[in-house]
């Protein structure tokens, strides 16, 4: 056992450890006392300690730097000056006679003056004790300060964590996307969850320049990739959503719609059902192409006249149509319907939403490249699918068949866009955040600005993966809503390097420091382990 320090004083939550000379303790480093039971502690602050008074030290320094200190040095520097680490005990682990671990939140202090050592992977065996590997959710490897315990993979229970939502926060470039990539990669061959990724940077599927989910050996079976781009890689499905899949309520909390417009929308829907959007554009396109005003309708399309007969104010329809037009990227020019985005009134994309739902329901991972979509359209696409999943799962729940279904989780980049405080109606994502777990639906929110997410929603995101963040206000927002008391970890969070994170979850006994390897390295590793492809035969061709 390598001693790296000794407990010299302190109190619960603030234990002082004198660092052994030659050792270097780091903020975030995990230390341990004892073998069984083990107290696991985490360094959250470091200060200098000295046997000399401040005045003495200053004088000594003065002698040195003012040139009067030739030949002077500290005789036994290690004894006189040293580093004091402030640590807090995070877990108390006992292995009982039948080899089972019992981990608890420490309620007592470790023995005074105990010798302290660095942790080893073995100290964390309790984390994987009794876990169902099939249901695991990979997050990275254990980290102690900046050193990585590569052989200690950190996983949490997937179904639990996913349905109770995950929030991933960091300032830009600290590795949020990298972490999600790693997470998805390891989830690809797990059937317990379907994951929908709304990918505004088109970074998750991969391309020839950067690897992604498509490089996974199971990609063909388990990854579905939608992209609106005609030059998207092979195997991708062109993202096209028929307006028949779009329902009035999908706009809730996505597009700002007035009560009057909402009423008009529902009236149109009642009349035309699935064709309501097509009708809105077609009819007025027809009217426009006639190029003269019709006496009976006073130049209005049939829908307008119909709405007015139902007491909808003049002008409401036009305003509504404009909003829907912008959201869907469908425009009307000179009597023609121009579809610039992924929504179409034509005959394609009819099954898209159903296909995505079906894929999710069978535990696949669906990535939607929304990089070319307007923010509105992206959220609308998400809203349509999320609504579908929600409706379907609610159905399963009432039929009592929800148990056999995989969990569905939705990855949202820049989560405050959809989870942020709004005065209007709560959108489907807000609903999922609040009550999704009853239906086995969860969110994986990614953000730089957790503070923009309402406290209530933040509190509902029961696993927080906190990467580096130098913004104090952001750290505060996260810490205040974390599952563990992280008040002393703020500094540490500020100093996290790329890929380093702290996982605070109601499903972990303590906030676990992790490091998520660079995704490219994970890919390389998997590739190396991959077996040779079988020889293929094209059967049925005899000539």
């Amino acid at each position: 056992m390598e001693i790296c320090g000794q407990i010299v004083s302190g109190e619960h939550g603030e234990i002082f450890i004198r660092q052994k000379s030659g050792e270097t303790l780091e903020i975030g480093e995990m230390l341990a006392v004892g073998e069984n039971p083990i107290s696991i502690m985490m360094v959250y602050d470091l200060t200098y300690g000295s046997q000399l008074s401040q005045g003495n030290l200053e004088l000594a320094s003065g002698m040195h730097i003012e040139g009067m200190g030739a030949g002077l040095s500290f005789m036994e520097e290690n004894l006189q000056n040293y580093v004091i680490a402030k640590v807090k005990a995070v877990a108390y682990v006992k292995k009982n006679v039948n080899g089972k671990y019992e981990a608890s939140i420490p309620k007592s202090l470790p023995q005074f003056f105990s010798k302290v050592r660095k942790v080893t992977s073995a100290d964390f065996e309790f984390l994987s004790d009794g876990k169902n590997a099939e249901h695991s959710l990979y997050l990275g490897c254990l980290r102690s300060g900046s050193s990585r315990l590569k052989d200690m993979e950190i996983t949490i229970d997937g179904p639990d964590a996913l349905t109770h939502h995950i929030l991933i926060t960091a300032t830009t470039g600290r590795g949020k996307s990298n972490l999600v990539k790693a997470m998805l990669w390891k989830l690809l061959d797990k059937e317990y969850c379907g994951i929908l990724v709304l990918d505004p940077h088109d970074e998750y599927f991969g391309n020839s320049a950067a690897p992604g989910m498509r490089d996974h050996p199971k990609a063909k079976e388990n990854v579905v990739y939608y992209s609106p781009s005609a030059s998207a890689p092979k195997g991708s499905i062109t993202l096209r959503i028929n307006t028949k899949s779009v329902k009035p309520w999908h706009f809730n909390g996505v597009v700002n719609i007035t009560d009057a417009q909402s009423q008009a929308m529902h009236l149109i829907y009642q009349r035309y059902r699935d064709d309501w959007i097509r009708k809105m554009f077609e009819e007025s396109a027809e009217a426009a192409s006639l190029a003269f005003s019709d006496e009976r309708t006073g130049g209005k399309s049939g829908i307008e006249a119909y709405l007015e007969s139902r007491g909808v104010m003049e002008g409401t329809f036009a305003a509504l149509k404009r909003k829907i037009s912008v959201a869907l990227d469908i425009f009307e020019e000179g009597g023609k319907i121009i579809e610039k985005g992924v929504f179409t009134t034509k005959e394609t994309g009819i099954g898209a939403a159903d296909d995505i739902l079906a894929a999710l329901e069978s535990g696949k991972k669906v990535i939607i490249d929304t990089s070319r979509l307007s923010s509105y359209a992206e959220i609308l696409v998400g809203s349509i699918i999320a609504n579908k999943v929600f409706e379907k799962y609610a159905e399963y729940k009432s039929a009592g068949t929800l148990d056999g279904k995989p969990v569905v989780s939705i990855v949202l980049e820049e989560a405050p866009r959809v989870l942020g405080a709004s005065d209007g109606e709560i959108n489907v994502f807000g609903r999922i955040a609040r009550e999704g777990r009853k239906f086995k639906i969860g969110l994986i929110g990614i953000t730089q600005l957790a503070s923009l997410i309402p406290r209530e929603v933040l509190a509902n995101m029961n696993t927080k993966i906190i990467l580096g963040n130098e913004m104090e206000a952001e750290r505060r927002a996260i810490i205040e809503s974390a599952a563990q008391d992280l008040s002393t970890e703020s500094k540490m969070i500020a100093s996290l390097e790329k890929g380093e994170a702290l996982v605070s979850s109601i499903f972990t006994k303590f906030a676990i420091p992790i490091y998520t390897p660079l995704f490219n390295d994970i890919v390389k590793e998997t590739k190396a382990a991959e077996s040779k492809q079988p020889v293929r035969k094209y059967v049925g061709s005899d000539d």
């Binding site: 991708s236 062109t238 096209r240 099954g351 898209a352 293929r536 059967v539 000539d543």
Partner: protein
């Protein structure tokens, strides 16, 4: 018996589901009469002749134009009913005749020419005759295996006819390493490439390994023939079908001649070309016939004219199809029977295909007391070519009133209940009746009841269950 079509009409499906399928199908608004089915009208009929606006006639072929016909999913040999089977063949013959009449230089049949790989010889003979006729006229035919007439381990009628020199078989190629290299056929300098289909969408991995670069390098105009559903165009009735995404297709073909999806569709796809599914020529099951009632099936005449593609849809001539829907909800069996009888007696069915669908829950009495067979007889007497009954969704409020002896084991109770139900029902297919029917039901439910094993992926589980079910079905078929 070959695999069941993914389009097969489910006799045991409930009314609501069929209703939904209909609703969600994306028909051409203009060709379809717009008349929602109201609950008040107990029955509702659609006759094809009333709704299908005849499409514009095909313009005469111009000088320098290459014209070809594109058919798919003829499913020759489908239907057990003699009349329907004959009508199906006739529709095919009509399509060929029309192709000849329109001056087609060649014909592409994009899969499922036959309903099975080894069809009834009479059917094969009729087809061969027609093909020989084409040969004599010098019209070349290019045929691709479909999902129905392909067999992984036996020869197919397609091989026989090809061997007889009656057509060119598309879909040749081989794997070179990890790449599938397809061998182009050719008609007057136009490359025609086919990717053959396999049962239940297994060709998808061929698409994934397709050497598209080589195909894209071929000179245009060129034609890509395939027999697969395309993910982006998947109609909602093809819910669980394996689909191929567009991105796996080679780009830049003037024409993508599709088959497999029994619904007409033409799409100009940016970066690719024109994708066309002609739909079936007659159909292979009752759902197909129902869609035929709304819109005439047919095929495409395609002109390649200085690189441009012009499409002309040509309907085939088939008898008028009449759809009749009756709802039994809240009625007594006898009352319902009278209502049907009244309709049958007053109808004019001469020369029509009548599709009679009864659904709903009888307030009293049992479904067999409605005596649908008798009604069918009346319809036939009144001149119908064929009367197709769909009564799977007709149920009785009394249906669950079964005496259960709790001293018996679960399996025994199950056998008894199934036995009781089967004895009350009468199916046209005798294999489903009596003790044989009950045994079949029990073995089937046994096969379907299996749970996924711990070490099994979803895919292998599906395959295992599917295989077991097929074994049950095959042996039932074999006993006949």
């Amino acid at each position: 018996m070959p695999s069941k079509s993914i389009f097969d009409f489910s006799n045991s499906g409930d009314a609501a589901k069929n209703e939904e399928t209909k609703e969600k199908k994306a028909p051409r608004e203009k060709h379809k009469r717009e008349a929602p089915r109201s609950a008040a009208a107990h029955k509702h009929e659609i006759s094809k002749s009333k709704i299908a606006q005849p499409p514009a006639p095909v313009p005469p072929k111009k000088e320098g134009t290459i014209r070809f016909a594109h058919l798919a999913d003829c499913h020759l040999g489908a239907f057990r009913d003699d009349t329907l089977r004959e009508l199906n063949i006739k529709a095919f013959e009509n399509a060929i005749d029309k192709s000849v009449a329109e001056g087609a230089d060649f014909i592409i049949i994009a899969g499922d020419l036959f309903h099975t790989n080894v069809p009834d010889m009479r059917v094969a003979e009729r087809c061969a005759r027609k093909l020989r006729h084409l040969k004599e006229k010098g019209i070349e035919v290019f045929v691709l295996y479909g999902s129905h007439d392909y067999s992984p381990n036996e020869k197919s009628i397609i091989d026989v006819l090809k061997g007889a020199g009656l057509f060119n078989k598309l879909g040749g190629g081989e794997y070179v390493g990890d790449k599938l290299k397809l061998k182009p056929s050719e008609f007057r300098g136009i490359p025609i490439i086919g990717l053959l289909a396999r049962t239940s969408g297994l060709e998808k991995s061929d698409y994934e390994h397709l050497d598209t670069e080589a195909l894209e390098a071929l000179p245009n105009p060129k034609i890509f023939v395939y027999h697969s559903a395309i993910a982006e165009y998947r109609p909602s009735f093809l819910k669980d079908a394996e689909c191929v995404p567009l991105s796996l297709f080679p780009k830049g073909f003037a024409y993508y001649a599709g088959g497999h999806v029994h619904e007409r569709r033409e799409v100009d796809e940016r970066g690719y070309g024109t994708f066309v599914f002609p739909g079936h020529t007659f159909g292979a099951d009752f759902r197909d016939l129902e869609s035929d009632a709304e819109e005439a099936p047919g095929f495409y005449i395609v002109d390649i004219e200085s690189g441009a593609i012009n499409l002309h849809f040509v309907p085939v001539e088939i008898p008028e199809i009449m759809l009749a829907d009756f709802k039994a909800d809240g009625k007594g069996a006898l009352e319902f029977k009278e209502e049907l009888q009244h309709w049958a007696n007053g109808g004019n069915f001469a020369g029509k295909i009548v599709m009679l669908r009864v659904a709903g829950k009888l307030a009293s009495g049992k479904p067999n007391e409605v005596e649908l067979e008798k009604i069918r007889e009346t319809v036939l007497e009144k001149g119908a070519l064929v009367c197709v009954l769909n009564r799977g969704s007709l149920s009785s409020a009394e249906r669950l009133a079964v005496q259960i002896d709790t001293s018996k084991s679960k399996d025994e109770i199950e056998r008894e209940i199934i036995g009781e139900f089967v004895s009350k029902a009468s199916f046209k297919d005798d294999a489903l009746n009596g003790k044989k029917g009950a045994e079949l039901a029990i073995s089937l439910s046994g096969a379907l009841k299996q749970e996924q094993r711990a070490n099994e992926t979803k895919d292998t589980y599906h395959r295992r269950v599917f295989g077991d079910v097929r074994k049950v079905m095959d042996s039932a078929e074999g006993q006949k």
